[in-house]
Structures are given as structure tokens and as C-alpha cells.
Amino acid sequence: MSRRNWGLWAAMAAGYALLYVPIVSMIVYSFSASRMATVWAGFSTRWYVSLFSNEQIMQALARSLTIAAVAASCATVLGTACGLALSRFGRFPGSGLLSLMNSAPMVMPDVMLGLSSLLLFVTLQQALGWPERGMSTIMIAHITLTTCYVTVVVRSRMAALDDSLEEAAMDLGARPWRVFWLITLPLIAPALLAGWLLAFTLSLDDLVIASFTSGPGASTLPMLIYSKVKLGVTPEINALATLIVTVVAIGVVVAGVVMHRREAA
């Protein structure tokens, strides 16, 4: 192995270490008996026990999961429609605007999206008496945030797809809806799963937009974690973070394997 390759390997190892050492050390300390979040004092699962008996955290978790599931599902429907329109219909009136509005939320800072969504909700409420701020407004804001990510995933899948299958089905007399249900949808299903998962984790992770658009008493899990971190670190958060990271990692790996198999088949 040449000297140049050693340099490359060292740089790669440093990069991967940066990515993983913080997470791994957090997982290790979640099993520490110490009240200090980063002092080791023997193996213990007491923080996991106290986590599951913490009513407030469990309620916020349930709220966050509900919001993420609803937002991801709606965003998948909307994003798929956007992705199909942008990749199949070519240039249509408004396609430039749609494309622009689709890339904008991805480069937009969170504080900006949060503030603008809230001001819209306040204005709507003054004019129409709707919506009441709470879970529903967080869901609406999260759908807006995540739709564009689903669009990107669907669009790139469509670009890689041969459209001759769809044309063949239409030549054989299938109506557009049948073509969509029988041909297009099964072909882009892996992209839909990937898009849904991406939207779900983005919604689950969001602190800033939820803080702006939430109403009193509708704290999500990230909002609760943020307020706890601001008050000082509690070891319960280590345990909670470990569980979330583990679940997400397993989910992503399983989804990856499923998609890999489907594509190979």
C-alpha cells in the first residue's frame, strides 16, 4: 500500500470516527448508574426504567409519532403527485413555479419556515376562526416541509425508470388510472417507502417548526428534549436518545435490505 493511500485511509477513519464516536459514547453512558450524564458508575438500566415511567415523555412521544405518521402519509401522496407531474408531463403552465416551490423548503432555514407558517395560521385564524393551534397546525407545517423531499425521491426514481412499460399498457387500452395503479405505482413503490421514511424521520426530528406552530399543551418530543437539555442534562435523555437511534437505525437497515432485494429480483 502506498503512502498516499495511508493518508486517505487515515482521513476516512477520522471522518467516520467523528460521525460515530458521539453517538456510541451517548449509548454507553445511557447504561451508567451515575446521576451525572457523562460519568461512568457501573452498569445499570435504571434510566430506561425511569424513562418508561415518565408520563410526560411518553405523552410527548405518542404525540410526535402521531404527527409524524400523518404528516409523512399526506406528504407521500402530495409528493408523489408532484414528482409524477414534474417528471412525466414535461413543461406545463406553472411547472417552473411548482419546481421552484418544491426546492425552496429544502434550502429554507427552519426558523423561516416556522415563523412564516405560524403567521399564516394566525392570519387564517383571525379571518376564518380556523385552525386552532396545536397538533393539526404542526401536521400542516410538517406536510409542507416534507412534501418536497418525497418529490425529490419520487422524481429521481421516475427518471431512472423506463416509461415504455406505461406506454405499452396505454397502447393495450388501459386508462390512465389503471396504468397508474397497475404499472407505475408498483414500480415506484420502493421510492414511496423511502420518501415516507424520510418524511417520518424529518417530522419526528423537527424542533424549530413545531415550536413555532404548536399551541399551549401540545409539546412534541423534540420540544420536551430541548427544554430538558436547556435546564441541564438528565441521564433519561441518554436512554431515550439510545432507543430512538436504535429504532431508526434498524428501520433504515431493514428498509434498505427490502428495497435492495426488490431491485435485485
Binding site: 471522518g15 450524564a37 399564516l120 406536510i143
Partner: protein, 288 residues
């Protein structure tokens, strides 16, 4: 076109409202805490009142200009370090055998899927006094034992690089994987030293990936709230934090809106214009 309507209603219209409210005057102790722009007087006359005070304050109070500069500095330096750290990784992935490549890519993407709030939180354990990283640095004698990096600007840089590194690596890897490595052999045959081949062949050809990665890191990093707020000290005042404070603590909604409009003008609109011009150039080149 339901998606179009949705994006128009919940994405485009809000900006007009932000713009509108940025011209209102803050009124405290009422909800919502600002004056209406259009006033209906008792005699039926309607008048428009534009209040530019929030914008004047942005320019006059050095606090806001300093916050913009600080945000640009944090984002710029972090982007540079993401590039320096991310390039070798992307290069290594692109040149690895296909079986290894998948694994290495998954290992980069995995942290990106886990919560950024929790990863920022995990950084506290690394950077506080006698933490994992500070302890290690003290053990090899680089810093005094008991020194904390937490709540300094350095902590913010480390936090941003840590959080955004995957955003740099992914587009770089995509570009480098498409690169024809035969070109490097040709350069070597023509007598180029490895570093010359890198500077004159690999680097220019990977420019699209560098630009894409730099934008993906730089833009959100400028508006970042969580990382400077949790890892930085009180003087790590970024635009994101200023907007948050004006809104939640001072309840000055018009000023928060004006901060947002200024951020949009300085940051997002140039990006979208750049993207638009690039797309048109690519289409023209594809047609030519």
C-alpha cells in the same frame, strides 16, 4: 392540482404575510402583537400604514449586523471543514470496491437519518469539561485537564461540521463515482505527479459535487438555531437565535418578520436564482 394548491397556500402565501407583518408596528400585550396595516376609520375611510421601523432597526443596531456576519462566519468556516474532511471520505467511497462502497455509504447515511437534535445533544458529552473529547485532548496534553470546549465558538464549529458532514459527502460521492478514472491514468502516463493529476483533473471535474455539497451545508447552517443555541456561548448570536429571541422572548413579531425577510433576501433568493441559471445552462448544453 392539489399539491400545487397546498404549496401555494402553505408555502408561498406565508411569505407575503411575513412581508406584510414586517411592515407592521409591534404592540405589546395584545394578541396578535402587532398593528393592522390597513386601518378602517369610523367614517369609512381606509388608510394604509407602512411602518419601516423594524428594517431601520436592523440596519442601525449593530447587534443585527453582527449576528448576520457571525452566522456567515460560522457557516463559511464549517463548510470549508466539511469539504476538507468530506472529500477524502467521498473519494475513498467512490474508489472502493462495489461491495465495500455500499457499506461505507450506508455508514455515512445512517447518522443523517437519526435525529439532529439528539446528535447535537450527544456532542455535549464530548465537549464538556472532562468529556470524551476534552478528556482525550487533556490526556495527550493538548489542553489543561478540566477545560471545557462546550459554550465556545469552537464547539459550534465542531457541532455544525458533525451535523452536516453527510450533506457534503453524498453529492461529492455521486460526482466522484461518475468520474472516469482512466483520465487519471492518462494524466499519469503524460507525466503528471499524483498531486498534479488531482489538482488539474479530479478537482475541476468534481466541482459540481463541491458546489452542491457546499450549498447544502452553507445555506441551512446560516439559519441554524439548535446548534449555536445548545453548544455555543451567549455570544454565539446567529440570525436563527436572534429571530427566535425576538419572537419568543421579546414577542416583537414585526422585527422577527423583518429579520426573516432580510435572511430571505440575502440567502435564499440568490440560491434559487443560482439554481435556476444552472438548470438553464445545463438544458442549453444538453440541447447543443
Amino acid at each position: 392540482m392539489l399539491p400545487m394548491l397546498w404549496l401555494l397556500l402553505f408555502f408561498a402565501v406565508p411569505f407575503l404575510i411575513v412581508l406584510k407583518i414586517s411592515f407592521a408596528e409591534a404592540v405589546f400585550g395584545q394578541s396578535p402583537p402587532y398593528t393592522p396595516l390597513i386601518e378602517h376609520a369610523a367614517d369609512g375611510a381606509t388608510s394604509l400604514r407602512l411602518h419601516a421601523g423594524s428594517y431601520a432597526l436592523l440596519l442601525q443596531d449593530p447587534l443585527y449586523v453582527a449576528a448576520y456576519l457571525k452566522s456567515l462566519l460560522f457557516a463559511g468556516v464549517s463548510t470549508l471543514f466539511c469539504l476538507l474532511l468530506g472529500y477524502p471520505i467521498a473519494y475513498g467511497i467512490a474508489r472502493a470496491r462495489p461491495a465495500w462502497r455500499m457499506l461505507l455509504l450506508v455508514l455515512v447515511i445512517l447518522p443523517f437519518w437519526t435525529s439532529s437534535l439528539l446528535r447535537t445533544y450527544a456532542m455535549i458529552g464530548m465537549l464538556k469539561a472532562n468529556g470524551v473529547l476534552t478528556g482525550a485532548l487533556a490526556a495527550i496534553g493538548l489542553i489543561e485537564p478540566g477545560t471545557a470546549i462546550l459554550h465556545t465558538d469552537l464547539a459550534v464549529y465542531i457541532g455544525i461540521v458533525y451535523n452536516y458532514l453527510p450533506f457534503m459527502i453524498l453529492p461529492l460521492t455521486a460526482t466522484l463515482m461518475r468520474l472516469d478514472f482512466g483520465l487519471l491514468e492518462a494524466a499519469a502516463d503524460l507525466g503528471a505527479k499524483p498531486w498534479q493529476a488531482f489538482l488539474r483533473v479530479t478537482l475541476p471535474l468534481s466541482m459540481p459535487g463541491i458546489i452542491a455539497g457546499a450549498l447544502l451545508v452553507f445555506i441551512p447552517a446560516v439559519g441554524e438555531f439548535v446548534i449555536p443555541d445548545i453548544l455555543g456561548g451567549p455570544d454565539a448570536l446567529t440570525i436563527g437565535r436572534v429571530l427566535w429571541t425576538e419572537f419568543f422572548t421579546n414577542r416583537d413579531w414585526p422585527l422577527a418578520a423583518a429579520v426573516a425577510v432580510a435572511m430571505l433576501l440575502l440567502l435564499v433568493i440568490p440560491t434559487l436564482l443560482f439554481e435556476y441559471v444552472e438548470n438553464r445552462r445545463e438544458r442549453r448544453e444538453a440541447q447543443a
